[in-house]
């Protein structure tokens, strides 16, 4: 075939009018997401162009809303048709696969036997009702059994979206779903397959692509090489469902800095220019949304840089405060969303600072955010009045916990 001269991707891009320059630029952004130097771009380009055989993949939906599948359909670098036709051979992907029922299940069994595949897992791991909170297949196979089956022989599992990372909104109190994350459940089952975690709700599709590119092409499907070649951050949390401490592996290029660190409205924060009323004249000026509850300072994702839906916008640009959907246990920890937080969850680049500790020491999120970002207390006065601080979180009250910083 003609594609051997320059590789399939090169031909495809040429047909679509993508220039070499655009392509290298894209490879540079992939390098950044992987935490590599942009000087790696030519090597990534070479790897991308040299791809021959598709990597078998199983996309599994657990307790999901299908939002992460929707999200991957929004990617254009490369677009979803290219992923499905030219990169990954999705032998199981409930939302888009041609077949159904017994034949679909057979596709899983066959692939697991043969090995050499990756799993992309979307949705919560549903342990509630003895695993019957989610079933698929005959006879009434639980989602837990499916996860264990596919993960056991996979090269790696990519847990996409906050639900797959730690249970997401589904684990919020008092849902009896028994929702937890892939890493926690595999640890409990003593399955050692590496799990890469990509939180936010839904997942940003460009981050999936970055991981796939890294594993498939840069690391030549070698998982050890993949883990070694990527910079990671780890985030620990105490998982209630499995009653164990879980360490989550996340790519540092994506989850190493806070939204606040990279926010285009950061200048207004430093100037003390805030939006007091949503959709107001202050919003038209693009002021900072911190006073209406923005969780940017405590949320560690690349959103302002990667942006969303082919980079056309992102939450803060459209006028909404960040709700911290990339954080752990994000609904319980971050709601009420329109209030400034009386306790913060800080992690990532700062290490694992317990919210209670931070709150108790600096007394309130304004100070916490400012100290955390090295601005010093003198700026605190600029924050002034605004929507009230929440008094105490329902989540904490129910557990009898007292967290610092409440006003």
């Amino acid at each position: 075939m003609a594609q051997e001269a320059h590789g399939a991707l090169h031909d495809l891009l040429e047909v679509r009018g993508v220039t070499r320059r655009d392509f290298l630029k894209y490879c540079g952004s992939v390098a950044a997401m992987l935490g590599l130097s942009e000087t790696m771009a030519p090597q990534i380009a070479a790897a991308l162009e040299g791809a021959q055989k598709l990597l078998p993949a199983l996309w599994i939906n657990g307790g999901s809303c299908t939002g992460c599948t929707e999200s991957i359909a929004q990617v254009d670098s490369p677009d979803v048709a290219t992923i499905v036709l030219d990169y990954l051979s999705f032998e199981y992907f409930e939302t888009i696969m041609a077949t159904a029922g017994t034949q679909a299940e057979h596709n899983i069994t066959k692939r697991v036997e043969e090995g050499g595949y990756i799993v992309i897992y979307e949705g919560s791991v549903m342990t509630g009702f003895e695993g019957r909170a989610q079933t698929a297949g005959t006879p009434d196979k639980t989602g837990l059994a499916i996860l264990e089956e596919v993960a056991s022989n996979a090269l790696a599992v990519i847990a996409v979206g906050s639900c797959a990372v730690d249970g997401g909104w589904v684990k919020a109190h008092p849902n009896p779903a028994g929702a937890t994350g892939v890493a926690a459940w595999l640890q409990k089952q003593n399955i050692k397959t590496p799990v890469v975690n990509l939180p936010t709700c839904p997942v940003n599709p460009e981050w999936i692509v970055a991981m796939v590119v890294q594993l498939l092409l840069v690391a030549d499907r070698d998982v050890d090489k993949f883990v070694a070649a990527t910079k990671w951050v780890t985030r620990e949390y105490a998982d209630e469902v499995t009653d164990a401490s879980v360490s989550l592996l996340m790519p540092a290029g994506i989850y190493g800095q806070s939204i606040h660190d990279n926010c285009p409205r950061r200048g207004h924060f430093e100037n003390g220019e805030f939006v007091d009323v949503l959709g107001s004249e202050q919003e038209a000026m693009g002021y900072c949304l911190y006073k209406v509850g923005c969780k940017g300072p405590q949320t560690f994702t690349q959103c302002p840089v990667t942006r969303w839906n082919r980079r056309v916008s992102w939450c803060v640009e459209a006028g909404s405060p960040c709700i911290g959907c990339g954080g752990l246990n994000w609904v319980d920890n971050n709601a009420p969303f329109l209030m400034r937080m009386s306790d913060m969850q800080l992690g990532g680049a700062l290490g694992n600072v317990q919210p209670g500790t931070v709150g108790a020491v600096v007394g309130g999120v304004a100070a916490a955010a400012l100290v955390a970002h090295g601005l010093g207390m003198k700026a605190a006065g600029r924050v002034g009045d605004g929507p009230p601080m929440e008094t105490a979180k329902a989540y904490d009250r129910k557990r009898g916990a007292k967290k610092g910083g409440d006003k």
Binding site: L54, N61, C65, T66, G67, C68, A73, Q74, D79, A81, L85, D86, L88, S89, F90, E91, E94, T95, I96, M97, A98, T99, A100, G101, T102, Q103, E105, N107, F129, E130, R132, T135, A136, G137, T138, W169, A172, P176, A177, C201, P202, V277, L278, G279, S280, E281, E283, N309, R310, V312, S313, C315, A318, G319, S320, A335, P336, L338, M339, A394
Partner: protein, 524 residues
């Protein structure tokens, strides 16, 4: 007599199991089961009412806009908020863009593979394909390049999402040239659904899971550049709908006339109405509210939240909670072993005026048609004329109550909504030019009750909220798919999809293509 189970029923949102009894090549009984517990209603208890906007939309990753709008409306009703006119228009545009996104995705990505065989497209003659496209008035693509790409893909031997397909099933009846056209548009549709989603992202941060239609109005303040970005994309999507989706539908329909004689279902149709009117009257929404009761023929009745009840005799909930209206509804799970004679689904049996009710584009288009909504009447009449011509007989509107009608209704609605959405962008531009700069109101009460009744692309959605002491005291959702995949109620009456499956011909129970076709027509 044979029992066939399709689980997982793929190409849908969520997890669905369909069990049918087949006798003499026809379905004689059916049980539709939602096999995933969500627990959303419990998660929302005791939270701030505004938070429901962000959390409750995560019921569905395909129609989060509609859930978020129904939720915001329930909050606004409960707290006595009237949103500014600009916010109303902006929400209509976002909702319209989601309809375009969702319907395009549904037709080409989810259900097309039940009719279109991309491997058969390899046999197409390229010159004939261009001739057919021209005759059908459908969009021309580089058909040769698409075929080459398919060939390379097939030659590689790794079939990806087509692994284990049923393409050798005799139900695939399209000529190779039409398969190639549809496959080319399948690939193009992947692009166009994403462009439609970009419109939402510009106005609401991202899709799925939008951010700005916060109770009180919208947090999005449009700029000239953003409006330009929106209109440019909208026109591209509208062009695709007019030049591919509609002509493709009309080109494929003559091959599927058999599908006009089964898959109809219960014949009761509910629409809460969608796309808000300036005076907030649900009967004046662009697609109005109404209920069609099969026994009364094609007439539209008024309908309200008080007409809804949910039964749980066959659902995994406590029997004590059966027959409640959603404002008093309870979510008390009680899992038992799956049994079609007992409890077999996480879905409740939603009923309207105590009857099973189909929701979705077919319901909206029928209610709109009978209510005299001009663009709806016009496009349905055009489609009926085209179908009549293909069938060689004059077909009445009742022919739409079928598998074919349900497919056609969704695609026709897409064209109507595309036109309206362009008009709403112009309406917004006019309002801003006229000096209207209000987007959000902050004043609100602390207690009350609200029912946000709205329409997602796939059907009627209701969010019921009761607020006490500034916190959510009770929250109940009746989602579109809750209506359509409803199980039997306490009287043993089958739900809409179950009724639609009964009578469906099944050629081969090992490859239950027709069951997929009927199930997918509801876009569950």
């Amino acid at each position: 007599m044979a029992r066939t189970v399709v689980d997982p029923l793929t190409r849908i949102e969520g997890h669905l199991r369909v069990e049918v009894e087949v006798e003499n090549g026809k379905v004689t009984d059916a049980w539709v089961s939602g096999t995933l517990w969500r627990g959303m209603e419990l998660v929302l208890q005791d939270r701030h009412p505004e938070d429901a906007f962000w959390v409750s939309q995560r019921i569905c990753g395909v129609c989060p806009i509609s859930h978020s709008h129904a939720s915001a409306q329930s909050t606004e009703q409960a707290l006595g908020i009237t949103i500014p006119n600009n916010a109303r228009i902006i929400r209509n545009i976002i909702e319209g863009a989601q309809y375009l996104h969702s319907h395009i995705l549904w037709f080409y990505t989810l259900t097309a593979l039940d009719y279109v065989n991309p491997l058969n497209a390899l046999k197409a003659n390229i010159a004939d394909t261009y001739a057919l496209a021209e005759a059908a008035g459908t969009r021309v693509a580089d058909f040769g390049a698409v075929q080459k790409r398919l060939a390379a893909f097939a030659e590689n031997g790794q079939l990806s999402i087509f692994t284990g397909h049923y393409f050798d099933h005799p139900g695939y009846v399209l000529p190779p040239e039409l398969d190639l056209i549809a496959t080319a548009h399948y690939l193009e549709a992947l692009e166009m659904q994403a462009v439609a989603a970009e419109i939402i992202a510009i106005m609401s941060g991202k899709f799925p899971h939008p951010m700005t239609s916060i109770p009180g109005g919208t947090a999005f303040v449009p700029t000239e550049q953003k409006l330009d970005d929106i209109l440019f994309r909208l026109l591209a999507v509208k062009n695709f709908v007019d030049t591919a989706l509609i002509p493709d539908t009309l080109a494929i329909a003559p091959f599927l006339l058999g599908a006009a004689s089964f898959g109809g279902g219960c014949g009761n149709f509910l629409s809460w109405g969608v796309f808000e009117a300036a005076d907030n009257d649900p009967y004046k929404r662009s697609l109005p509210r109404g209920f069609i009761e099969s026994a009364k023929g094609l007439t539209v009745d008024k309908v309200g939240p008080e007409d809804v009840t949910e039964y749980v005799a066959h659902s995994w909930y406590d029997d004590k909670t059966t027959g409640l209206t959603p404002d008093k509804g309870k979510t008390e799970a009680k899992y038992e072993e799956y049994s079609v004679d007992g409890k077999y689904t996480w879905g409740k049996a939603a009923r309207c005026k105590d009857l099973p009710a189909e929701v979705g584009p077919l319901s909206r288009m029928l209610v709109g048609y009978l209510s005299g909504v001009k663009p709806v009447v016009e496009i349905i009449d055009v489609a009926l004329a085209a179908l009549s011509k293909a069938a060689g007989a004059t077909l009445p509107p009742t022919v739409l109550v079928s598998l074919l009608g349900r497919i056609a209704a969704r695609n026709l609605e897409t064209a109507v909504v595309a036109q309206w959405t362009v008009e709403w962008v112009n309406e917004l531009i006019g309002a801003i030019k006229g000096g209207d700069s209000d987007y959000f109101v902050t004043a609100r009460g602390s207690d009350g009750e609200g029912a946000g009744l709205w329409e997602a692309p796939r059907g009627s959605v209701g969010h019921w909220m009761s607020v006490k002491g500034g916190k959510i005291a009770n929250y109940q959702v009746v989602a579109p798919t809750t209506w359509d995949i409803a199980p039997r109620d306490d009287k043993g009456v089958l739900g809409p999809m179950e009724q639609a499956l009964v009578g469906t011909p099944v050629f081969d129970t090992e490859r239950p293509l027709e069951i997929l076709q009927v199930a997918h027509s509801f876009d569950p």
